[in-house]
Each structure stands twice: as C-alpha cells, then as structure tokens.
Amino acid sequence: QSAPGKPEIMRCRSPEKETFTCWWKPGSDGGLPTNYTLNYYKEGEELINECPDYKTAGPNSCYFNKKHTSLWTIYNITVKATNRMGSSISDPHYVDVTYIVQPDPPMNVIPAVGIQDGKPYLLVKWSPPPLADVRSGWLTLIYELRLKTEGEEWETFLVGQQTQYKIFSLNPGNKYIVQIHCKPDHHGAWSEWSQEKYIQLPSDFRMKDL
C-alpha cells in the first residue's frame, strides 16, 4: 500500500464556447480507496475554487456550466488524488475556453447529383451543429468535406464557411461516401466527422436522367 500516483489532466473541451468539461486519468491508487478533487484558479485571482460539478460529464470529469465559464481568463487547473497514505497533485493544466472549442458534427448532410455544361457534379448540402448562434458570427464555423469510393483513399476539400459544395471531375457509375466536419474559424479543434452518406452516380449521363 502507498500514496496514490500522480493523476494527469487529459483533455478539456467546450462544445459551444459557453460551457466546458475537463477529464483526467487517475494514477495508481496505491492499493487503497482514493478520491480525487479538481481545483482551479483564474488568472490574476488568488481564490482557489473546487470543481462545481463532478457528475454531469461522467467519471473522472469536471463540468463547468455557463455560470462557471469565463471567456476572459485563463484557468489554472490541477487534480489531487488522496488516500489514507497521502496524496499527489497533477501538473497544472492551463485552459483558455476559446482555444478548446470543439463543435459537434454538422447535421442533415444531403448529397445530390447535378449537371453543368453537360458535366456531372455532386452537390452536397448540410446544416451546422445545433449549438450557439452561428448566423451572427458569435461562433463562426468552417467546414471540410471528404469523399471516397469504397476501398479508396479519402479526398478532402476545405470548404470554408459555406454549407454547400459542388464537386466536379467525378467518375460516372461510382458509388461515393461523403462526410463533413467543422471547426471554429480561428482557435479550437475539428469536430468528429458526420455520419457517412452514400450516393450512386448514374453510369452514363443524359439530361433525362436528372
């Protein structure tokens, strides 16, 4: 039996710049019942606060709701493991909420076939994830689209802020798989890819096909 090993703060994420969650990985528990407390202080403040909510985001996590989430400051976060033999504290983890925004994936991805100057193209449309207002620029999202035929490599297209995209130079008769993901325009991380969507291009193109 021994004091617990050092926990490690693995990741913090905000889905919409309004709340955020941090997760940690416990160290060894020294063979004893061990409990964990997450403490944080904000830049320029002396006050040490404890995690407001250990439950909402599941085990080994701390959820900061709107009231506890500030955009204007850097959080200095540590996790302390304690058992009967002693305790140990993680390295500090610095969080600036604007940098940890990872949105949910885009929704309603709809691929359709079109024709322009007699050439077939794929028009894919989608909508942003249902989170903070994207229309007003409060949270500006950019998108990437990826496309492949079964068994091939993905081909990725940087789309920018549009929520639709046309892809030319395709092979008639192929069955394509399409996915979209998104990210805040400046800081933050790409969302997961949206659900795979399939579209079959007709083999030969005549106007009447469409």
């Binding site: 830049e43 320029g44 709107k66 500030s70 955009l71 204007w72 400051t73 850097i74 200095n76 610095y94 969080v95 600036d96 604007t98 940098y99 940890i100 207002d133 229309r135 007003s136 620029g137 409060w138």
Partner: protein
Amino acid sequence: LPICPSGSVNCQVSLGELFDRAVKLSHYIHFLSSEMFNEFDERYAQGRGFITKAVNGCHTASLTTPEDKEQAQQIHHEDLLNLVLGVLRSWNDPLLHLVTEVQRIKEAPNTILWKAAEIEEQNKRLLEGMEKIVGRVQPGDTGNEVYSRWSGLPSLQLADEDSRLFAFYNLLHCLRRDSHKIDNYLKLLKCRLIHDSNC
C-alpha cells in the same frame, strides 16, 4: 492550448484576444437586439405610429456618447472605454426586468423570449470582459461607476395596452441603438489600440 511559460504564475489572455472576444460578443448582442426589435415591431407596433413618439430619448441619454466619427476619434480611449462600461451597466437592470415582463405580453413568441434571456446573459458576460479590459488598460483605476438609472419598470406594467406596448417598443428601440453604439465603439477601440488604427 495557450502556452504558459513553465513556472509562470500569471499567464494571461492578451489584450488583443480580449478585444477580439469583446467585439464578437458585442456584434452578437446587437444582432440579437436588432432581430428582437424587428420581430416586436412587426408583430405589435404596425400602424401605431410608435416611431413618432420614440423620439423622447432613452434612459442612457444622460451619458454623452460620440455621435459621429470625428467625436469618436477625438475622445480619449480611456473615456470611451468607461462610456462603454457605463452604457453596459445601465442595461443590467432593464434587461433583467425585460426577461420577466416580456413573458406577460400577449402571445409573445418564443423567439422573443429566448432572445431577451440570451441578451441579458451575454450583456453580463460582455460587462465582465469590459471590466477585465479596462483593468488591463487602466491598471489600478477603479473608475467611477458611471451609469444611468432606469425607471421604466412601471411603464412596462401599465394597464392600457397601447401605452404598455409603446413602453416595450421604446425600450427595444433604445436597446437596439445602444447595443449598436457599443459594438461600433468597441470596433473602433480595437482598431485604435490593437491595430494602430490600421484595421
């Protein structure tokens, strides 16, 4: 992740980033305020000639704010920052009451209710940010808590429907106007202080 020099105690959000976030937030608040005003105007104010009566000014009229580019550029940035703070503070109270009083309007659509609550919350968040910015630009200066008191609650609760609706119209008209001023001044200040007036 923001790179904090190891061992450094005071790793902080830069002034440029603070202004970026404040401008994005002021833009969002004005966007919501405009939409809320337009929605209310379309649904409750058509044909009532409210605009002719809306010219008796807003509760923040006592705060002398710049009304053209020259005035805005001549005012010292510390005074303009404090003016923005003053206007924001002046809206804390009316926004708090607006959220409850709007629910009493006949068939008030959810979109107006949601916006009133969202604006009230984001206004507090912007106020927090502005206090941080002022603290950074004028360290040590606690600043005189200039703001304009609002005494419009009774008019939002008047029995006569026309008078009550006009009181809402005037408040939303003033919110649209003041939130646009704040957004405009912050964009100006950001260009001046962060980009040396070369945005």
